[in-house]
Subunit: 185 residues, 2 copies
């Protein structure tokens, strides 16, 4: 199955720490294979995200890349598709089937902007995709894009190898420690 | 059609301004009728959200209510359903059909926690609903809940009466001023 990687542009330490953490955790929970963070280098953030992977399981990579243009060039050279999420693009329901069809054979890079998105990105991307053409949240747009791309299957995904696991409850919280880590390869 | 209102708990000025703004804008863009913000009173945030409604159209209300327990009591007394989004609840795909069925006759209040959620909320809610049982983002969870509840139809909703409107583009940005405001009632 081709991969899905999320690229977060323009991260700023301080102002964006929480939003970028949400972007990374949504990428993981909604079935992406990794996140690349660009903008200011924030090793603590990367460590926190990898700490979540350690605790809650699954395979997921988080890395910092300062030069996002190079990330896009390399992605393109390897034949991957580039999707840019923006409120100015084509509305998701009008384009997702076409993207899903092409994803069968090509990895997808989902680019999520920060405060200011360089205009050239609109031209580099294979698809500029909006989720409603209304202003809201790059975190929500990413979640909905990943959900529609994978047709909801990602919400049932298992995350093996973690230390903790939630046992879903109608009332209250139940978290168990798993033994999986002892049998990790 | 029964209403959907989002209740954001535990807002803190400073630390939560951006996240709560995202919650409010996601509520609007994904078809909810309004948002109630609890925690610290933040009139500037309410004004910013209502400014987005003014600019981009549609019907949406944002208000502050200090006493969230009272909001829940009133909601219950009026016969509304209370849904609490939490990673510890029943996973969305396993419960959304039942909730959608009940929504045909009852308004829905979607409760989105902040940093610390009071334990009693798990017992007050009619449904504790998780989106994946993994840690990620209340903003993403809200978006996905609203999207599944409305089966994606909300992504095609129109927002009449705004000053600006995006014309979806494959490349670049196109925003037009509308004339709708002159014919508002």
């Amino acid at each position: 199955m081709p991969r899905i990687i999320v690229l977060r542009l323009g991260h700023r330490i301080g102002r964006d720490q929480r939003a970028t953490t949400h972007v990374a955790l949504v990428a993981r929970a909604y079935g992406a294979d990794g996140v690349i963070i660009s903008g200011e280098r924030d090793d603590a953030l990367i460590r926190r995200v990898m700490g979540v992977v350690e605790t809650w399981g699954g395979r997921f990579e988080a890395e910092y890349r300062g030069d996002w243009r190079r990330v896009l060039r390399e992605w393109r050279m390897r034949g991957g598709l580039i999707i840019h999420l923006t409120m100015y693009g084509i509305n998701l329901p009008d384009i997702i089937d076409e993207i899903r069809e092409r994803w069968r054979e090509r990895d997808i890079l989902v680019v999520v902007g920060g405060e200011k998105v360089p205009g050239e990105l609109f031209h580099i991307a294979d698809y500029n995709v909006a989720v409603t053409n209304q202003p809201h949240s790059e975190i929500a747009a990413l979640a909905t894009f990943l959900d529609w791309l994978q047709e909801g299957r990602e919400l049932r995904r298992e995350f093996p190898g973690g230390r903790l696991k939630v046992i879903p409850q109608r009332r209250g919280k139940k978290v168990v420690e798993t033994q999986d880590r002892y049998i990790k390869p």
